[in-house]
């Protein structure tokens, strides 16, 4: 079980004290860690995305084993390619059968909120014990006042660059502002190797790049009420910037899918790209690429006119389906897996690929284990939900799945449409989902 008897006593004492002092305040009651006793004979099926780094899987399974040893609950962990998680989860929710617990992406929980078990008590107890959730990740898990999912991690996206190639162009450090970044890319193209960012139908990299371009200039798809406001002067500015930036890229980025930038970066044909830290580790773990690995540096994507770094990243949350026959076992499992000792091990095991959702868990030796890891530590704090600034739901998911943002940026950047036309088209397309 997740809690020792002592924790339980402290928790109960807290509730009792709270009840005495304040008259049974629910907020205080929630602050104490809830305890769940798995049902007799419970077994669990967990479906997660196929890990990107080996250590992630090893430590997740090791933690799961510990849970089984402590509670006797057998847990079967299945995995599925990350792009198949969304339809699988939706079908499981719809049909009412399948895994008990699932690790899902982005705004998936908002597609079927009423099919998910309320996990508010677990989330609030974590939040009160570990300094609260980062707002972006919380946004992906909290609907109105209720947590329908437990934030698990941000999969950080960051700039990876080749120090020697920057030096060749006369840059000793990576620019922090978007305008300086553009100037550097121009020089890189002229004097060294160009930059390259995915602008094709790349689910991860394409969306990360496009959202960063637009958000960093103050553009956004919808306002707080869910009204489409993408066709704004800020977006136009962002697209003009994208057009200029694109001209400094290596040719062919419109066709890049998620893997292309990795290949080109490792072949040494580009000096700068954006990716998860896994790209660095694929060089580091390959003896033949030792020279390139030593030369790789990382940083966060440059800050634009909005004055603060804002990025999409990837977000994963854990959900429990209502149809689960063993809801308490599932709760106990997540409460155990997402608690600090297990999370610390998992975050370390994931080699900086996963960034924790709770502020109190951010200090982990992994971030200083390698200088390249450090910028990925900031993923959770710079993260914004994909439906920013509006409510999450089917419209936000459909708009992203239809590549509205990616297409808009690519259309304007490649010169296929003027920034004004591209923004107008994106507005029309988004309105089909957000229904004016």
């Amino acid at each position: 079980m997740t809690l020792s008897r002592r924790d339980l006593l402290i928790g109960t004492a807290g509730i009792a004290a709270g009840a005495q002092l304040l008259g049974a305040s629910p907020a205080l009651a929630q602050a104490a860690a809830p305890s769940y006793k798995p049902e007799a004979g419970a077994t669990l099926r967990v479906l997660r995305w196929t890990p990107f780094v080996k250590g992630d899987e090893d430590s997740w399974l090791a933690n799961t084993k510990k849970f089984t040893e402590a509670t006797g609950v057998e847990v079967r962990v299945d995995k599925e390619s990350w792009e198949d998680i969304r339809p699988k989860a939706a079908v499981a929710a719809n049909v009412g059968a399948g895994p008990d617990v699932m690790l899902v992406w982005f705004d998936d929980p908002f597609q079927y909120p009423d099919k998910l078990l309320d996990v508010t008590d677990i989330a609030t107890s974590f939040a009160s014990r570990y300094g609260g959730y980062y707002p972006g990740l919380e946004g992906y898990a909290k609907k109105d006042d209720k947590f329908i999912a437990l934030p698990l991690a941000a999969i950080g996206n960051g700039i990876l660059y080749r120090e020697s190639l920057l030096q060749q162009a006369g840059f000793s450090k990576f620019p922090e502002k978007t305008d300086e970044f553009l100037e550097m890319c121009k020089v890189l193209k002229a004097k060294s190797k160009p930059a390259g960012f995915a602008m094709g139908k790349a689910v991860g990299d394409g969306n990360n790049f496009a959202h960063w371009i637009v958000w960093s200039h103050g553009g956004k798809m919808v306002d707080e009420s869910g009204k489409v406001v993408i066709n704004s002067p800020e977006t136009i500015k962002a697209l003009q910037y994208a057009r200029e930036l694109y001209q400094t890229f290596i040719p062919g980025t419109e066709s890049w899918l998620d893997i292309n930038n990795n290949r080109v970066f490792l072949s040494g044909d580009i000096s700068v790209t954006a990716n998860g830290v896994s790209l660095y580790y694929s060089a580091k773990n390959d003896p033949k690429m030792a020279d390139i690995a030593k030369d790789i540096r990382s940083t966060v994507l440059p800050t634009g006119p909005v004055g603060q770094p804002v990025e999409l990243h990837q977000t994963t949350s854990a959900v429990i389906f209502r149809y689960s026959k063993f809801p308490n076992a599932a709760r106990a499992y997540l409460q155990f897996m997402l608690d600090k000792p297990q999370m610390d091990a998992w975050i370390s095991g994931s080699s900086a690929y996963c960034c924790p959702p709770l502020k109190g868990m951010i200090d982990n030796p992994i971030w200083s284990a390698d200088p390249v890891n450090e910028p990925y530590k900031r993923a959770s704090s710079t993260l914004r939900p994909n439906g920013y600034a509006g409510p999450l739901g089917y419209a936000s998911a459909a708009t992203m799945a239809d590549y509205v943002m990616v297409d808009m940026v690519a259309e304007a950047a490649s010169g296929q449409r003027t920034p004004e036309e591209a923004a107008k088209r994106a507005e029309q397309r988004a309105n089909r989902y957000y229904r004016v």
């Binding site: 066709s255 890049w256 459909a398 799945a401 690519a410 490649s414």
Partner: protein, 315 residues
């Protein structure tokens, strides 16, 4: 021998048994039942479900309600949908014409007396036999923006300076996916037409040669008319396969760059599964049906011109 046969025939005609007739019909029905169930379960039901979904607002994770033509109205105003219709038609027409011309040519070549005939015919079938996803992944590398072997060779030969942007430029990408589809589809056309060619009696050609017909005349007035029923069938299938192509595009471009290669099938998938809008995806898929029906009708009434085959004129 003859007597017994006659006797049997007499016996049959003398005693027509109604109960036998009935049970024959029953047996016939029984024999057809498995096929009928099969068709109902795997053809009629999914198709019917698709049509129904197109009239609802079903999303993955939520059963929908009937909304009439709302999905189609919304698609009517969707520029991306119309772009995909245009792409699909362009893809189908261009690829089918090329596949037909090259396939027929290849069939004629293979019909000649070649050494290692069986071996060559087996080789020719390979593109069709290899799973599309596998060959598409190979092509993905061949067309890579940076590591393309074609670009590499041409650069080494000094023909070009920078790599060809196969899949990044909208026009290039369209040409590239069409040619890849042609590569994959030729064997089907060629081998089927080859089978047809072999049924044409050599005596017809001999007779025509004796009459002084040139090889073009023999092709035009013997081979082509004899082959045309088969051409109609082969091209119907070829058009259907091409129109509904998905795997090739999904591996090579996912519909990019800038949606220039998005076909109706890939758009339908993008909206229905990753986008979660089953109803709209179904509506796009159903919107393919009229085009497919038109293609089938065209090939049946346009290509199977019987009078022409029998030496008459068209109308």
């Amino acid at each position: 021998m003859t007597e017994t046969t006659l006797a049997r025939a007499d016996a049959l005609s003398a005693q027509p048994s109604p109960s036998l007739m009935q049970s024959k019909g029953m047996i016939g029905l029984l024999f057809m039942l498995p096929a009928a169930i099969f068709l109902l379960a795997f053809l009629t039901y999914p198709l019917g479900l698709g049509v129904w979904l197109g009239f609802t607002d079903t999303r993955i994770g939520r059963t929908g309600v009937f909304v009439g033509l709302e999905n189609y109205q919304s698609l009517w105003d969707d520029s991306l949908f119309w772009l995909s219709v245009f792409n699909t038609i362009l893809y189908t027409v261009a690829a089918s014409v090329l596949k037909f011309a090259l396939g027929l040519w290849l069939a004629l070549l293979l019909n000649e007396h070649l050494p290692f005939k069986a071996f060559i015919r087996a080789i020719v079938l390979l593109p069709w036999v290899v799973p599309t996803v596998l060959s598409a992944i190979a092509f993905w590398w061949i067309y890579d923006a940076q590591f393309s072997i074609i670009s590499w060779t041409l650069i080494k030969l000094g023909v070009i300076q920078t790599p060809i942007n196969f899949l990044g430029d909208t026009t290039n990408a369209r040409i590239t996916v069409i040619l890849t589809n042609v590569w994959r589809g030729i064997p089907f056309v060629a081998i089927t037409l080859l089978a047809g060619l072999q049924t044409i009696s050599p005596s017809l050609h001999e007779a025509a040669t004796l009459d002084g017909a040139t090889s073009w005349q023999r092709f035009r007035f013997i081979t082509l008319p004899m082959l045309s029923p088969l051409i109609a069938v082969v091209m119907t299938f070829s058009v259907l396969f091409t129109f509904t192509d998905f795997q090739l595009i999904y591996v090579l471009t996912r519909g990019g760059p800038l949606n220039a290669t998005h076909l109706m099938a890939t758009l339908s998938f993008q909206r229905a599964i990753p986008g979660g809008q089953l109803a709209e995806g179904a509506a796009i898929a159903i919107a393919m049906v009229p085009f497919l029906l038109a293609a089938i009708l065209f090939s049946y009434f346009g290509l199977q011109r019987r009078r022409w085959q029998q030496g008459g004129t068209d109308e």
